[in-house]
Symmetry: C2
Subunit: 503 residues, 2 copies
């Protein structure tokens, strides 16, 4: 069919043209379907929006696509239905229950990175993983395809790495583990994420101490120079398909199918050439993984996939029912991590960090089995990890002599008090996160929550149990009111039951 | 956050604005997330595209949304993250395994019709039906919500209706059933679909004989006047959510989850106030339903749902392994239907039509149980159905005296011949459809396929087995070559095996 070109401005994630709805039957095309648009031997493929804003004699083509076609407004182009790319057939097959192979995953991932899948098609690929669970073979193919379409950094020496599946606020252990491992002489080029739905991602926390945005080459240089780094992975292009899937589908729907999570994590580790990897699986009420059985099952998948992909993986199942340490929010967490490196800070944070670091040290042969945590404790307590952290901060453009008290915490503060004598029965991950976010975290670096007690602490009526910090008075008020409503810290009287309960 | 308005032209299915990617962390928003945009007490909610084409001090707002906000380019607006509508929470719950109730479905369907769901969210709703099967209660709520958000026609007398779940080419039985039922004095206001992926929808076939696009009021008038009609349902607005779901998700992905199909069909029947409904379930190889067990299961769901929704439903499981009748394509099918009404035409077409019509006649009490087909045969053979069809054609603006030979069939013709003596072992639904579409159907009304034999016919080498008709020579060539490749009609020699097979 011949149609006359009209200029329209269209923003979409893939080449898109505008068509009158009456043409859909003539062209045999549905909304979002693809057209081949040709003139003088040149052609493009574009998806379609239907709109009555354009006449049935015209086709609306954005300037940039007019340039590719070398056509001008008023000229005629030949327009025909064209089938979707092969990757869409594969996605349809997956929806109908098929298992896919290496070539099919490569084709799908190429289409994702190349921007040729519509939102409907991309969503279908992710959601097919719920109705038709991926085999580990499939996850392997998906992971390899995600790596092969991204940037890869080669260090030419053994690479150690650490990952947490997340879900628990205050989990700043990376800021202790990386310097401990690097202080042991091992290479740990760590990339981390920023928060989108949590009060602080590791990259947000590290950003309080140093820069976190670097190019792949700078990333490599820094890690090689000081043995470790903590850098935002979002712009390095290590697994571009993963970034697209997360931002276009997983965040909007607040989902993370297990198979996609496995491929996401391992693709980013393969991109930095990780050989040894410890994975933190916080487990407990309110965490991503709620029971020990689920944690075991997930660990088995990680280690088996690691074997298939050539990464040695050990999973550490950690306590995930309440926040890690006492601080939640970028500056509060950076401060707590720095204090811990300097010998202070909460016991639980140091325990968790050295336990996970110890696993890596054992994998490296720097500690005998069962002895890794002791070696990690020694690296932490001797100040060697602190010294290494200062090197890392300097290499990433921060002040190597930074002190905890230098870090600016929000000047507005509210305190919650124990309503009765008793003990702390629960600290809710969800409620603590919500209050910290309401206070301004992670955008306002100084905003967040400081817990004055955790599960099992004995408190007296009127003791402070939680402090909220904010950079703006208005946000403090919102956060404080939310805290009164959600009660993130539950205090229970020691007397649980009373018999008989009459009188 | 304050941002300066810049004009952009955006085409999307919901209000959309353009934002620099660097603002996503500051606003806590993902691509496709929603922003509340305010000025002087007015506000709108819009979804977001991220693009480097716009600076981080600006927000790109299309003219139409600027009008709603009463802002001009260069003015400042207050921009903040706002959570998605409640319906998105419900969709997320469904994805995670929850069953939803009446209110939740109403909210989701309102969001679909109101255009406030993104493609990602809408796709997630449809695909959740695979990973978390809908209960019949849920299908009921969904159906009722789809009806309550659309146009409803009330006839104030018992309404009879017929539906085929489709999947078999050549299924022009509606053109016989509607006049038979109307000739019996019953009211059958039938709406039909156009083909998007098949060679001819019933509305495409009927359009050869009369107009099929009418308003709801005209639809009502025509049906009341002559007792029946065959009209395109696409623009009547009976179940707008269904039309949106089909065009935005189901066609692009070539899927049709059972629960959505049930709700789709029954919502359109409830919209015309159907009291009695016969459903044709073509069953067999290459049809939508392949086995008798599946057909029984689907029938049970239809009748039970009918009970819950107040429609009496009987399902007819019909032979679906090959096309119905001999003709495939709009004009060829209209011609065959007219011939059948005039006493000619293929036996199989008349058998199927009167069997299904007979069920409705029994439901109406116009025939005793087991006797409906005889009464339908009588209405067909006596010419009463033909007379009624001529009235319907006239009421829909067509020529009531039309003869089969008046209908223009494509002037280009190619014939396929039996390659050996034997019998026809198979006529492939898929291949026949593909060849008819390649020849130009349904856009070229005169294009299609005429089968010269069907399963079980004995043929001699060189007998014609299939004719292809086209309006354009080039399309005929494409269709003929496709036919040579796909071999829609399989002829097998009588000798199936030979032992021993060496000499």
């Amino acid at each position: 069919m011949k149609l006359k070109v009209r200029t329209v401005e269209l923003y979409a994630k893939f080449p898109t043209v505008l068509l009158n709805p009456s043409l859909q039957f003539k062209l045999g095309i549905h909304e979002g379907g693809r057209l081949k648009i040709e003139r003088d031997g040149r052609w493009i493929v574009a998806t379609t929006y239907l709109s009555n804003d354009i006449s049935s004699l015209n086709i609306g083509i954005p300037k940039i696509l007019q340039g590719e076609l070398k056509v001008k407004p008023g000229q005629y182009v030949e327009v025909n239905y064209t089938p979707p790319p092969k990757s869409v057939d594969y996605i349809r097959s997956r929806l109908k229950g098929a298992k896919l192979g290496k070539e099919e995953y490569l084709e799908i991932v190429r289409s994702i990175v190349g921007g040729s899948l519509t939102d409907v098609e991309l969503t279908a690929f992710i959601l097919s993983q719920y109705s038709n669970r991926m085999s580990l073979e499939e996850v392997k193919y998906l992971t390899e395809a995600m790596v092969s379409t991204g940037v890869k950094v080669d260090f030419n020496r053994p690479v150690y790495d650490k990952h947490s599946i997340g879900g628990v606020p205050g989990n700043k252990v990376t800021l202790l583990i990386v310097p401990i491992i690097a202080a042991a002489g091992l290479l740990i080029p760590k990339t981390s994420s920023r928060a989108i739905t949590s009060p602080s991602g590791t990259a947000d926390t590290m950003e309080v101490l140093a820069d976190v945005e670097f190019t792949p080459n700078e990333f490599k240089e820094i890690a090689q120079k000081v043995g470790g780094c903590i850098i935002w992975g979002g712009k390095l292009g290590f697994s571009p398909a993963d970034d697209i899937i997360i931002s276009r589908v997983e965040h909007p729907l607040d989902i993370d199918p297990e198979s996609q999570m496995l491929a996401s994590i391992l693709s980013k580790k393969l991109a930095v050439g990780a050989d040894f990897l410890v994975i933190d699986i916080p487990t407990g009420k309110g965490a991503k993984v709620e029971t020990l059985d689920e944690a075991r099952d997930l660990s088995a998948k990680f280690t088996e996939l690691g074997r298939m992909l050539g990464i040695r993986i050990i999973c550490g199942v950690t306590y995930g029912s309440q926040p890690v340490g006492h601080a939640i929010g970028p500056a509060l967490e950076a401060k707590e991590a720095l204090e811990a490196l300097m010998g202070g800070g909460p016991h639980s944070l140091k325990e968790k960090s050295t336990a996970l670091a110890g696993i890596l040290l054992e994998m490296a042969g720097l500690a005998s089995r069962g002895n890794g945590k002791d070696v990690a404790d020694e690296l932490l307590n001797s100040g060697k990890a602190l010294q290494k952290m200062r090197e890392i901060i300097e290499a990433q453009g921060g002040d190597p002599n930074v002190k905890p008290e230098d870090l600016p915490i929000g000047e507005y503060k509210a305190t919650l008090y124990a309503p009765c004598d008793g003990y702390i029965a629960e600290v809710s991950n969800f409620a603590v996160s919500a209050v910290a976010k309401a206070a301004g975290a992670p955008t306002d670096k100084g905003a967040g929550v400081l817990l004055k007690g955790k599960r099992g602490y004995v408190v007296e009526k009127g003791d402070p149990i939680m402090e909220i910090y904010a950079e703006y008075e208005s946000k403090l008020e919102v956060a404080y009111n939310l805290a009164l409503k959600l009660q993130p810290v539950t205090v229970e009287g020691m007397l649980l039951h009373r018999f008989p309960d009459s009188i």
